[in-house]
Structures are given as C-alpha cells and as structure tokens.
Symmetry: C2
Subunit: 304 residues, 2 copies
C-alpha cells in the first residue's frame, strides 16, 4: 500500500570516534524511504533539494521503487546541510553547522497521485510544513505518523500541538517525550501525550530500545547490543521508516502488528549504525533482514 | 537447594523526591535474602550487625526461612549505616554518610552447615572478605555469583580480580562493567570480563533492563516501565537475590534457566522500588509474583 514519506533530503558532514565523512547524503526522508523500501514499493517522497544534489542518488532511490514526483528540485539553490560530531560514547552529539538553504522556504506540494495515500510518515520538520501536508490529503489515511524535536516544543508549541492532535502515532525519543509532557516517568509521559491526540506513541531510547504505547498496552522493543556503532546518524529515521514500511506492506494497524513493526524498525536501525551515512541501508537483502530479526527474537525469548 | 547469601545487613536513611525514611532496615544481604526467600527455603545468611539491630527484624527473616547461624551479632558495637539522597530523576543518588561500624573488621565465619552449599551469592563487600567466604567452602558450589562496585576497582583491583577469577557469574551495573573492562560497548565489555574468569555476566541497567552474557549468547531482560518509583534502594540486590533464589529453587544452571532467573530477578526488583526500604519485599505472595511475571512476558512478546 502507498506510504507518503515527508522530510529532509540533505547533505551531512559526520564525525565519529571512528572517522569522518564529508558531504554524504543524509536527511530524515532519505533514511526513512530507504528503510521502508525493503518492505513496500509504494513509497512517495515529499521533500526539496537544490540543484547541487547528485542525480545518481535520486536514481538510486527511484531504482528502489521510491516515487520522486513530490521531490522539488530548486534551480540555483543549495540543499539542506547539517554537520555534527559524536562524543566518544556515541549517545551525545554536537551540531557544528546547520544551513537550511532550500528548507527555509519549503512549501510541500503533494502530487495528485499521493493524495489518497493509506499511510503517511511526517519526518521532523517545521510543524506548519507538516500541517500543510495533512491539509492536502483528500482521504483520511489509515495511519499518519509523525516525528518532531525539542526545537519545535521550545519555539512553536501551538503549531506543534495542532499537528500532534491530527496524527495517529507520534514517534519521538525519550528526552522529547519528557519535555513534551513535563513528566519524567515515560509511563506518565505516554498518558499525557496520548491525551493530546495520538492513539499510539513510540518512544525511542537509542541503545536502550523503544517503547510502544496504546491505551493501557505497553510493548518494549529491545535494541540489539552491538560491539561497534560507527555512525548513529539516521538511526531514528531508519527506525521510523522500517516501522512504517512494514505497516504499509501489511496494511494492518492492529496493536499486535504495530509490535511486529517496531521490531522491524529496530532491526533496520541496528543495520543503519554499522556504516557511515546511508551506506549500509543500500546493500541489505531479505536474508540479512530475516537473520537480524531472528536475533531480536532470540534476544528476548524466554518462558516462565 | 541451599543458597549462601553474603553481604551487609544495615540501617539506611533514604531521601527521595517522594519522602524520607530514617533508620530503616537495609543492606544488600537483607534485600537479597528477602527476594530469594520467595523461591527457596535453604537460605543461609553470612553477615554482621551490632547489638543495636532490632531482633524483630531478625525474627522476620527467620520466619521467612532464612538461617541466621552465619550472622554475627557484635555486643557493644553498631551496625553498618548508610544515608543517601536520590535526585529527581531517581537514576542518580548522592551518598550523604557511610559509617562502617561492625563492617570495618568483618571476618566472615561460615558455620559447618553452610560449607557444602550448592549456590553462593557474594554481595558487594571488600574483595578480601568475599575471598574468605570462598576459602571456607568445602565443596565447589554449582554456581558462585558476586556483586562488586567501582570503589574496589579503584582501590583494591588486584584483590578484586582474584575473586572475580574464582566466581561463575558476575552481577554488576553498566557503569561498573565499563570501568572494569575499559570498554564502552557492553558487548566488548562482556567479552573482556568473561575472559577474567566468570563464565556468565549479568549487567544491570536500572530502568533500562539487564543483559545476560554467556559465551556468544546474549539475553536481554527488560525492566517494567513504572509510573512511580518510590525508592530504588536495594533494587540491584533484590534483582540478584531473586535471580539466585530462582536458580537455587530449580538447581538448574543452563543458560535457558538463567534467562528465566534474570526475569524473576527483574520482577522482584520491580516490586522493591514500589515502597520505601524492604517494606514491599515482605508482603508479596505467589499470586502477585506470577501476575508480575506475566507482565514481563506480555511486555516483550511478539512474533515476526
């Protein structure tokens, strides 16, 4: 089934204790679309780049079945750019540079063929841009998921809350959930956030796994313990993309299937961090994904 | 089967954002013995208190089937005392006072009836005291587990490493595993620590669950997401005690049974934090424990 993925397509400079990679392709929508492309073919991208963006990368996305009719290419402008450096523990990073470029004036336009999408993933963007996408949908999707970040909680809380009220699932990290709710306990945070609109909440905890809340139900998806994490960039977007790709493939939004989906998302994220940038996300196959999923099964399988 | 539990029996002053409790009964061996007592009756305590320690508490332990022949009561001396205050997030605490008292000269003496114990839990103590216990065992137990802390890594690393080399399972937290191994990745830390002697390693991550390592096997035990944590004191000792109590009950040290045991330990720890001190650990029953275990099953149950 069709999955609209909205978010950044960008260049990143990334420095980790393992090395440095300059001007590699990144962006939330890139990671999310790549992860989802292993599960479903109906991916419809909504984003914007400058004419500095390599057409080979766009061709690769197309080859993976990603529809680029919703990707605006702005002549004479530059693509969004982010530079960051990870600390030794890989759990913290400093942003060294952010150049909005084409993103500063981004007005998303949904091609007509996208307007009846069954599933929508709104990557982290200005809330008003996320809202513009929702407004252009002609039929109510089966599930709209969104990501956001603390910057919008600080600076545009009203616009953010309006979008949150309209989505079915929020996918944010533990710090963001705490800030959004004002609660330290994630159980209490989840209650407050679900009262803001989303029926379902996924809280990402990085190397500590992820929690999925819906009503009184709680599910915990472990993270795979890894010997090496080369580059965490994009892991959260890959998680969301893998999750939404699996939901779009199955068309099933029952809580039992969302549990499976969050495990698929976690598995895809565990691949993402194994190499710099999107590299690992372009070389997987079904056998590798099945084997990784089995490791998740084995990691938490017990009987009492 | 018999389980020797070695560790502190003490008084604690505990302050949390929810309140303050002064001079309550605590100590690693107290928590571990209480937790284990729900699973096995052959618990043999090795510890020391002053004559200021309430006999009613000792009677309660006896009533729960704990053998106190190895508990020394020092006339005219005072029991070990610890005072601490938890931060708002409950994940960090400051030690406000530590009075070793009877612990300063603790020379553990194993009653003859303890010397053929099948299972031994060495709570966090001076490594030389832990070693003195091992030396008095006349038959090799099926499994010796130990806890320790960063203080001994800093101050008596050689003596600590000698004890570690003699035990079957080390149960420490993530910070301690990182310090002991010099590795940030817990997978790499586990490899190094198991090369120091212990065949099995349990790494406690507090609200983020626990990892169990043996050879190439990794198992993850989730922590139950809780709306309120009233007092984390003793949760780690309760975890270890619940785990060892279940192992002693079953007599089974296969990795599959250790997985079950770490879930039992996690379940007991999830009770411990619900009230101040040991209170919650004295009022449980089988039905409550079964129901709690089921919540752990439901928390991570999925199929792919």
């Amino acid at each position: 089934m069709s999955l609209v993925v909205v978010g950044t397509v960008a260049f990143d400079d990334v420095a980790t204790p393992f090395g440095k990679a300059d001007r590699i392709v990144g962006g939330a929508a890139t990671y999310a679309a790549l992860a989802a492309s292993y599960f479903t073919s109906g991916i419809e991208l909504v984003s914007v780049v400058g004419d500095d963006f390599p057409t080979t990368v766009l061709d690769d996305l197309k080859a993976r079945g990603v529809d680029l009719a919703g990707l605006q290419i702005k002549a004479g402008e530059k693509s969004f750019f982010w530079a960051g450096r990870y600390h030794d523990n890989m759990n913290q990073r400093d942003t060294l540079d952010t150049q909005l470029n084409v993103l500063a004036e981004f007005d998303p336009v949904l091609p007509d063929s996208y307007k009846d999408a069954e599933f929508v993933m709104l990557g982290n963007l200005t809330p008003s841009v996320q809202m513009r996408v929702i407004e252009q949908l002609e039929t109510r999707p089966k599930l709209i998921a969104m990501d956001t970040m603390n910057f919008w909680m600080d600076n545009t809380p009203d616009a953010l809350n309006e979008v949150i009220a309209k989505v079915d699932m929020l996918i944010i990290n533990d710090e963001e959930a705490r800030q959004l709710s004002g609660e330290y306990s994630l159980v209490k945070a989840a209650e407050k956030i679900m009262a803001m609109g989303p029926k379902t909440l996924a809280i990402k905890k990085g190397e500590h796994g992820a929690l999925l809340f819906q009503g009184d139900e709680i599910f915990f998806a472990p993270a795979l313990p890894l010997a090496e994490v080369f580059d965490p960039t994009g892991a959260g977007d890959t998680f969301a993309g893998g999750m939404m790709g699996y939901i779009a493939k199955t068309g099933d939004i029952s809580f039992d299937n969302l549990k499976r989906a969050i495990i698929y998302g976690s598995a895809m994220a565990s691949f993402c961090v194994e190499k710099f940038g999107t590299e690992r996300m372009t070389e997987l196959d079904d056998a590798a994904i099945r084997a990784r999923l089995q490791r998740f099964v084995d990691l938490v399988r017990f009987d009492v």
